[in-house]
Amino acid sequence: MEGIVCSWCHYANEPDRVSCGTCGAPLDVADVVSASGWRAAPRLQEMTEFRVGNITCQIAGQVVPVAEFTLADGDTIFFEQHTLLWKERTVSLTGKNLRAAGQRTVAGMPHAVIEARGPGRIAVTRDASGEAVVLPLHPGIETDVRGHAFLAASQNVAYDFIRIDKLASMLHGGPGMYLDRFVAGDTQGLLLLHGYGNVFQRRLGGGEKILVEPGGFLYKDSPVAINPVPVQAGAGFRNANWAELTGPGRVGIQSMYVHRHII
């Protein structure tokens, strides 16, 4: 009997599964794709459970989802300090050493990142309504994420940041001057994001461009170039800068965002 290939993470599942074993996407519902080619991120069913390596994750809640992790002895995940919801006594917490911590602080990026080590259970959530987006990272895949959007990642995912070229992006662009960069190691890693509102993904072809309001940008594959593009908003007002994304690769957006007012 043939397995079911998840259309979100491409993992081959056993035929009897109703949700993907590595990303939790429902396997028994059709893809939801708009006429423009934006695909809605899989709406994870309540209490959906999936597994990456030895780490088991369960998504609870629909309006403000909670990600509960079951960690085996020695397994580690990391997350921003203020996303911690609860943990069991056996889970130990350690501050993660980050490169250029001072620069991160000045840039408004997460600088208090905590590592949780099993055995035990721990849960994280962000304090806003939206969707949990599971991005299983295949070995070597690099994903860039807007600041303060990542919920948790497994230990084998390297965490760094990149600078967006051109100073204008810092002055005008919603995501700020830096993006978080997550790189999977030799084995598949788990990256869990929180998108405000609804999350949509589109795969851009080589050279294909799309203009996105900077606050709506959520993530992209590292080959996708991001550049601030000025759009004249009105006489007497300074230009609004939007993010021009150029393929190839995946782009993720969120429908609810904090807008930077033009004046």
């Binding site: 939801v32 708009s34 006429a35 423009s36 934006w38 809605a40 709406r43 309006v63 309504s129 939206g130 969707e131 405000y196 509102g197 609804n198 949509f200 461009k209 799309i210 203009l211 996105v212 309001e213 709506g216 759009v231 004249q232 908003a233 009105g234 006489a235 007002f237 609004a240 939007w242 021009e244 957006i253 429908s255 609810m256 965002y257 904090v258 807008h259 007012h261 033009i262 004046i263």
Partner: protein
């Protein structure tokens, strides 16, 4: 209530939400996207819940087409035909194809708008191309198709996008009161957006939480808290109304409401910012304002400047 013939007009089905006729063969009204195959939910008071537009539903707007995606914070994707135009407040733009031409839309009385807290920068998008809009709060999108000659008043901060056939203006809300110290307070905003259609057009609104509509009979009155109002027909009159609760612990409190008088339709949202005004009284109320003191012996409590004569609505 008047009935109009909308897109795909074989008058077999009149949508209770946009009041237009259409072919009932599709699962959603082609004019406003409201699902057809759902039972109307109406409470004993006459409020009907506006059913949310389903994920991926299409709405036809002339040669252009709109698709609603998402459920928590819905997105309106508009596929603009060549030459077709929509306008919107700059902050609701989510993404655009590079082929879509974007330009600023000239606005009159910019300073007044800025002082009133209304969106200052409006933009126009011209097809061909695709463009998408979303607000920043969980809620619902409401599609209001307008026939030629029709108009509607929208409370501020609900407007998402409109086609070029719909003209835009703003009017004084008339909902204000002044404190004894002379401060003018606009509980529902100083202005309302007024949209009028020269020819058939589409207006998209965003409401926070869930949306409920009610058709008021001629002379029928309803009182709503100011920030719950989403829109009203032009025929619905709107005035300020104040109430003083009957409670020894709340006698200093006045509750500000909007008095809506039919005939016509009003729509409210279930999520809003509640406000109570801790003032002793008021000096002036907006046009045709009314108030009511629920205390059995109003003379026991300190009265405001203009509360000597009870004015029961």
């Amino acid at each position: 209530m008047s009935e109009h013939t909308g897109t795909g007009a074989s008058p077999g089905y009149v949508c209770p939400y946009c009041r237009l006729s259409s072919d009932a063969s599709s699962p959603a009204c082609p004019n406003c996207g409201a699902p057809i195959d759902v039972r109307e939910l109406r409470d004993d008071e006459g409020w009907a819940e506006q059913p949310p537009i389903r994920d991926m539903a299409h709405i036809q707007a002339g040669r252009s087409r709109c698709q609603i995606t998402g459920t928590y914070v819905p997105v309106a994707e508009v596929n603009l035909a060549p030459g077709d135009q929509v306008y919107f407040s700059h902050h609701v733009l989510l993404w655009a194809d590079p082929t879509t031409q974007l330009a600023a839309r000239p606005m009159k009385k910019s300073w007044d708008r800025h002082k009133a807290g209304m969106p200052l920068v409006m933009m126009e998008a011209t097809g061909p191309g695709r463009i998408a809009f979303s607000e920043d709060d969980p809620g619902e999108l409401i599609a209001v198709p307008l026939e030629a000659g029709q108009g509607i008043d929208i409370a501020e901060h609900h407007f998402l996008v409109a086609t070029a056939a719909v003209s835009y203006d703003w009017i004084s809300s008339g909902i204000w009161w002044t404190t004894g110290g002379g401060e003018v307070i606009y509980p529902g905003g100083k202005y309302m957006d007024r949209f009028s259609a020269q020819q058939r057009g589409l207006l998209l609104l965003h409401a926070r939480g869930n949306t409920f509509i009610r058709d008021l009979r001629d002379g029928e009155r309803i009182y709503v808290v100011p920030h719950a109002l989403v829109y009203k027909d032009l025929s619905v009159h709107m005035n300020i109304h104040m109430e003083r609760p009957a409670s020894p612990r709340a006698h200093w409190m006045v509750i500000t409401m909007i008095r809506l008088t039919g005939p016509g339709r009003v729509a409210i949202q279930s999520q809003y910012e509640p406000k109570s005004e801790a003032h002793w009284g008021w000096d002036k109320l907006g046009p045709d304002g009314s108030w009511r003191n629920w205390n059995p012996d109003p003379s026991r409590w300190r009265r405001g400047p203009k509360e000597a004569e009870p004015l029961y609505p």
